[in-house]
Amino acid sequence: MNRQTPIARTSGAPLRPDLAAIAEMIPPGARVLDIGCGDGSLLEYLVRVKNVDGRGLELSQQNVNQCVARGLSVVQGDADTDLSEYPSGVFDIVILSQTIQATRHPSHVLRDLLRIGKRIIVSFPNFGHWRIRLSLLLTGRMPVTRTLGHAWHDTPNIHLCTIADFLSLAQAAGAHIEKALALINNQRTRPMQPNAWGPNLFAEGAIFLLAKGERSEGRPNQ
């Protein structure tokens, strides 16, 4: 049904498929905080095309300087330590794209995100993908794949997880899932049942749109 995510573009360069899927979830004009915004390509797209009031937090000073020179509002900071200073509920959407696995305390970060944003979007590589499972089984070594290209000793990804693992964390943090997408072959996204076994085996990554648990009141099925 959702055959191919349309390729979003900003200043000529196509947006990566997972970023394009995130962009699609964001309503125009929203107040957005992009944590770990990197070189700012998603943020720039959101500001230019979706007309959002966008901010970024980025660990690498070099990336921050590039973002600001591009006209984006970005602060150098660390998701592990600097989220506590943001006031509650000021952002419509907080994005944590491909970053949670690199934080020291994913559960603290997730709770802070849920506090700061009315909704949050979290994307991460799925360590439960069959290729990774097979690689570990067959070689007996920590898998190095195209998505996770670092050797075990120099990877920034210190807290890798599977879709099933993330689901438990999100539930423990009192989040409820509004939307879940599977990233297939790093090329397209499609809706998934996050607690089914299939996506956890076949999706290379996942994107979740979450909201605070209080919002799920009146939804007994959650």
């Binding site: 009031d53 901010r55 000073q61 921050v64 300087n65 973002c67 600001v68 020179a69 591009r70 006209g71 984006l72 509002s73 970005v74 602060v75 150098q76 900071g77 600097d82 200073e85 943001y86 006031p87 000021v90």
Partner: protein, 391 residues
């Protein structure tokens, strides 16, 4: 060097007529109400403008100068003949492009380049104010600038920017007149002057006051200048604007004009001769009493103190876009102080960017050729201009 070496000859520190810039005279009916409770009237604001104000009056950029700066941000200094202090940043095709923006820079209250300060004549006595000039604060400087911006018929400034004490004024502008500041760029600054910075200023002031030619501040009446004291103040301050690494790189232990140590107290080392030169040239363009007043204004600056000690409260509900800039080797206004402002702005949910630029040139880096600073300024101001629809 030659004039400064003979401080006995008093030379009035007023700009020669060839390029004095503009002057706004405010009469007794428009006093400047100071934080001290005193009123300054009449008073004069000397300022420069560059570029053209557009019909919508929406392209005005206010540049705030630092302690020893002045309104000659992008034009030849009338006393020294040197290029404007921020020529790299302001001008046609520069990061603050004067083909696009209308740039204003005013000499601060208490200064000595045409705006009313301690070296001006007190109309009530017919003599220079000297130490009878009231103590001024950063907020007083900003109040005076707001009166100038009013007089120019500008409702909102597209950007207010400045480094060091200029950055303090930017923060004060954003706190006092949030609706008049569309975007703000405080560079290499702090929301409060630290104990160490107050200490350095006190050394400078004591050097001036220890000069017998200071005469309790009344040196103008006696036809002398406390040049030695002011030069020492400048020498001490100048060290704080540099970094250990830059001093080592530039001077090391190199000797000045000699092959061997003199076994005396001449300027044996290049760094000594450099500092002496900095001190001596400074007295040609700066007034000693102004130096006392302006350093005091910086010492008194503590933005959070006006808001119950909580810096974020100074920016509560602000719609201003902020971009903070610091330099890695700046130990006078270190990254940590700038970051403190960024944290407060985050806590106020403000739109804020924060850039730290790698440089070994210390605090002075903001005045120098730093391409990363220029990219940051043009990116930030350019984004503000495009959101406001300024071509």
């Amino acid at each position: 060097m030659s004039d400064a070496a003979s401080p006995r000859f008093f030379r009035p520190l007023t700009a020669p007529a060839e390029n004095p810039g503009h002057v706004l005279e405010l009469g007794p009916e428009q006093p400047l109400v100071l934080d001290s409770g005193k009123r300054l009237a009449p008073f004069t604001i000397a300022y420069m403008t560059y570029g053209t104000l557009n019909a919508a009056r929406s392209n005005a950029v206010l540049v705030c100068h630092a302690l020893s700066g002045d309104q000659f941000v992008a034009s030849t200094h009338p006393l020294t003949g040197k290029p404007g202090w921020w020529n790299y940043v302001v001008g046609p095709g520069r990061p603050i492009d004067t083909n696009r923006f209308f740039v204003i820079c005013a000499n601060v209250v208490g200064g000595c380049m045409g705006t009313t300060g301690p070296s001006e004549i007190d109309p009530s006595t017919g003599e220079p104010y000297g130490l009878t000039f009231p103590i001024v604060t950063i907020r007083d400087m900003v109040r005076a600038q707001a009166m100038l911006v009013d007089a120019l018929g500008i409702e909102q400034l597209l950007c207010v920017l400045g480094g060091s004490m200029g950055g303090m004024q930017v923060l004060q502008w954003a706190a006092s007149y949030p609706e008049r500041v569309y975007s703000a760029m405080p560079i290499a600054t702090a929301a409060r002057h630290s104990a160490q910075n107050i200490a350095f200023h006190e050394v400078g002031r004591q050097a001036i006051m220890a000069d017998p030619d200071w005469k309790g501040g009344d040196y103008a009446l006696a036809g002398v200048k406390p040049s030695k004291g002011l030069a020492v103040a400048r020498m001490a301050a100048h060290i704080t604007y540099l970094s250990e690494a830059a001093l080592q790189r530039k001077f090391g232990r190199e000797l000045h004009d000699r092959n061997a140590l003199s076994f005396g107290f001449d300027a044996d080392f290049q760094i000594e001769s450099y500092l002496r030169h900095q001190g001596m040239t400074f007295v040609d363009r700066f007034d000693a009493n102004s130096y006392l007043y302006i350093t005091r204004a910086m010492d008194y600056f503590d933005l959070a103190a006006d808001y119950g000690g909580v810096l974020a409260e100074a920016f509560r509900g602000t719609k201003t876009r902020f971009c903070l800039v610091s330099f890695t080797s700046d130990w006078l206004f270190p990254t940590s102080e700038n970051k403190r402002i960024a944290h407060a702005l985050n806590a106020a949910a403000a739109n804020v960017s924060f850039v730290e630029i790698e440089s070994d040139r210390g605090h002075d880096a903001f005045l120098l050729d730093e391409p990363e600073l220029f990219d940051t300024i043009s990116g930030f101001v350019g984004a503000a201009a495009s959101v406001k629809g300024i071509g």
